[in-house]
Symmetry: C2
Subunit: 342 residues, 2 copies
């Protein structure tokens, strides 16, 4: 089994990408199709003597969509960009899925253009796994669609439940709608209308989830539009960084608190792992006709390793095919619901 | 100077409300107009022997809009509810402003109905002060308007700057638009359009601010629609609680880390103060024709005290009148901008 990796995308490409991918591939026993500049990649691989134990194919392309480049313009100008090539390798069957930590908008567009959408899914959604007080949760959409309609959120819920089964190992994941206030009348136009639709058509829908309950683990799957999802995740990332910084400042101010910090260092390290986003690595783009995993631009080797482990798991379980089936089941339930009402 | 207090509103009314209000009033030297059930309030005041030193007026009303009650329905059914009475006391000149930790939607509606809107402001906005790595920031709208148009965000920016001058003590506060990505082309329809309008009409506009930069202090004033603002604040509150819980769990696991925790206890306490939302207490509702401060339903006495201190400061500085003038200046700039373009 080969997994394609956009080795040119991301703030620390190809270094972090290659080193994280190699660890995952060696550990789980799959091959890598590295897409990027052949000469750069060969140079990079020299640094990893253990690379010889991994089946590696290099797809040579000099072009890459830069992080700040406008996705549509970039892809038009560079039809041989690494992100397009990576998707094409999957579409042609040479790899089972691809990962990119590059320009996220370009990744969405490449996956959508090359794979097409699954029947019954109007928009793809990025599904992130977040830490909670319990077993974690899946939040989607994390930023693939900034303007959503209620039907999009219902489709996200169906796909998100399926992903949560695998990612969180829960048989019947509960679904919550991110909104203001728990009552169904609370929220904006989108959430009020989506609440009604979710209640009527989606299994295990528990109603609105307030933002303050996102991290308590009240729902296994949290659905929202991509603008709200992206803001929620980014504000959390920023806040965690600020809290760590403030806490370190405070703990370095007096002798006794510095000693306290030293004595509790292991606890801090364990704590860090529990709130560390890189533990969760990549987020799959759900709803497209092929397996695509998206990573943070600043992905560490560990984040890349975890994202590829997730991609491997999805591939082994035939995840895209399962989404296809689940969505088609949902469509027939939804239309029979509509039929009943007519 | 009298400040009116909805003594019946909030999860811990009248206890927390009265005790926090008394501390502020005694410390700053203003009088309190307590609105609620006279018998309950008299009972409560008995517990505070120092209350005798504060000029207190009680406005007796048995009705209160419950926290979960639908605002419009509640106000229609209970025209003598404490929140309405509190606003009326201000409108009649018997108090300079009012504070409520009760049903937020009902507070917005009462203020808007009793005070009316300032000329040139289409929608009120709730302005919260948040802690940052630097001097703090003002985020608005925190939830008064869930559906916003670009012009609303521009009006929020003008009012928010004025409030930030006072709350953060900055002479020329910078304004950022909360969005996804720093480029003006990034975001949803609302933010893209608002970006253009803010750039053309609002002083010290620094462009889009990504959610991860909200707490770093990149902008003094952060504008967004009320849905996004409320979700951002609530998710942050939830996250801070979860982080504290996780950290305590970790620090209690081994003997050395428990000792570490004890040694660093003072640092933790100081840190807690820096991220503690109750430090910032209340949020003023900007854009209405009178002074209205809104508190968290679960406000502690300290939060109530700080909210009333803020209300007092606003009243002393003639804040509502200054907003009126600033908005009218903005209106004439904006229309001359439009004239120039015609």
């Amino acid at each position: 089994m080969q997994i394609a990796v956009d080795a040119a995308g991301g703030d620390f490409a190809p270094g972090n990408i290659v080193s994280g991918a190699l660890v995952a591939a060696r550990h789980l026993g799959f091959g890598l199709t590295l897409v990027g500049s052949q000469s750069e990649l060969e140079q990079e691989l020299v640094r990893h003597p253990d690379a010889a134990r991994v089946p590696i194919v290099i797809v040579d392309t000099p072009d890459c969509i830069e992080m700040a480049e406008a996705p549509a313009v970039g892809l038009r100008r560079k039809p041989k960009a690494s992100i397009i090539k990576a998707a094409e390798v999957v579409a042609s069957g040479e790899a089972v899925g691809f990962f990119s930590a590059g320009n996220t908008g370009a990744t969405f567009l490449a996956a959508r253009t090359v794979f097409g959408m699954l029947p019954g899914v109007d928009r793809p959604a990025l599904a992130t796994t977040i830490p909670t007080l319990t077993r974690g949760a899946v939040l989607l959409d994390a930023g693939a669609n900034l303007e959503c309609r209620p039907t999009h959120l219902a489709q996200f819920a169906v796909m998100g439940r399926l992903y949560a089964r695998m990612a969180l190992d829960v048989s019947e994941p509960s679904v919550g709608l991110l909104s203001i206030g728990e009552e169904e009348t609370k929220g904006n136009e989108l959430t009020r209308e989506a609440h009604r639709l979710l209640r009527e058509t989606v299994d295990s829908f528990i109603g609105n989830v307030e933002a303050r309950d996102v991290y308590t683990g009240k729902a296994d799957v949290i659905v929202c539009d991509g603008f709200t999802g992206n803001i929620s995740l980014k504000i959390s990332e920023g806040l965690v960084e600020v809290i760590e910084k403030l806490l370190k400042e405070e703990l370095n101010q007096t002798f006794s608190s510095s000693v306290g910090f030293l004595l509790s260092r292991r606890a801090f390290r364990r704590f860090h792992r529990r709130v560390d986003y890189s533990e969760y690595g990549g987020a799959p783009l759900l709803g497209v006709g092929g397996l695509c995993a998206v990573g943070h631009g600043s992905s560490s080797p560990k984040a890349v390793r975890n994202a590829l482990a997730m991609t491997y798991r999805c591939a082994k379980q035939g995840f895209v095919q399962r989404v296809r089936e689940e969505v088609s089941k949902y469509r027939s339930t939804e239309s029979s619901d509509v039929d009943r009402k007519c």
